[in-house]
């Protein structure tokens, strides 16, 4: 992922924030045909999207199910608290886009968690009792409140946002500018 490449140059503190891209998906998910019925893409759109994903090391297929991702976001909070957040975040993307698994299913999330060295039964318990539901809802509320309408939106140092799957050069340019603009007295006194 482009964001992860930034760690070659910066000490990145990665902070995923949940966004509900398709509100109203039931817990069991919907078929792709149901969600995207009648949608026509411009010529080359899908190929371009796949190529951009491939450039970031992600083999992007067309999973047949559009899942409800609420539990996946809750599981992300579990990973934030108990393990390698970035690895789990990457693994969930891989499970969905490459392995075409239904990441709305708790069994799938527990399996992904286990592959990342997290305790699958601990996660199962946390998802069952909704331990992180409030945190996820709070992130979604915050995203809407600050005007996020498209994903991914990457916010640098709480003050500059890049929207969409941009080239890596865009990310690293913004990161360098954000870092270069530090050092004022007001920044130091944060």
């Amino acid at each position: 992922m482009r964001v992860e490449r930034l760690s070659e140059e910066f000490e990145v503190k990665f902070d995923p924030c949940a966004f509900d891209l398709k509100p109203g998906i039931p817990p069991e998910g919907l078929s792709r045909e149901q969600v995207y019925a009648g949608r026509v893409y411009p010529e080359g759109y899908i190929d371009n999207m796949r190529q951009m994903a491939a450039d970031s090391g992600v083999e992007m297929k067309r999973p047949p199910v559009i899942p409800n991702t609420r539990k996946a976001h809750e599981a992300t909070e579990f990973a934030r608290e108990h393990g390698d957040l970035a690895a789990f975040h990457r693994a969930v993307f891989h499970a969905y886009w490459t392995e075409e698994r239904n990441i709305g299913e708790i069994d799938v999330l527990c399996d992904v968690a286990s592959s990342c060295g997290l305790d699958p039964e601990g996660l199962r318990e946390a998802l069952a009792d909704g331990r992180y539901a409030g945190a996820v809802e709070g992130q979604m509320t915050w995203s809407r409140a600050v005007g996020v309408t498209g994903v991914p939106t990457v916010i640098f140092d709480d003050r500059f946002a890049v929207v969409g799957a941009q080239d890596y050069e865009v990310f690293v340019d913004v990161a360098r500018r954000v870092v270069a603009q530090r050092g004022t007295k007001s920044e130091d006194s944060r």
Binding site: F14, D15, P16, F19, D158, D188
Partner: protein
């Protein structure tokens, strides 16, 4: 990563104290909030 280094040794220490450089790697710290969904 915060570095609570004692004393003052020029701008580098000021920046580290402000959490702007990682004490171990020396790389500039960068906070990235990634707003996204998995689908």
């Amino acid at each position: 990563m915060e570095s609570w280094s004692v004393g003052f040794d020029g701008d580098d220490d000021v920046e580290r104290h402000a959490g702007m450089h990682d004490a171990r790697s020396g790389k500039p710290a960068l906070r990235l909030k990634a707003v996204s969904d998995y689908i």
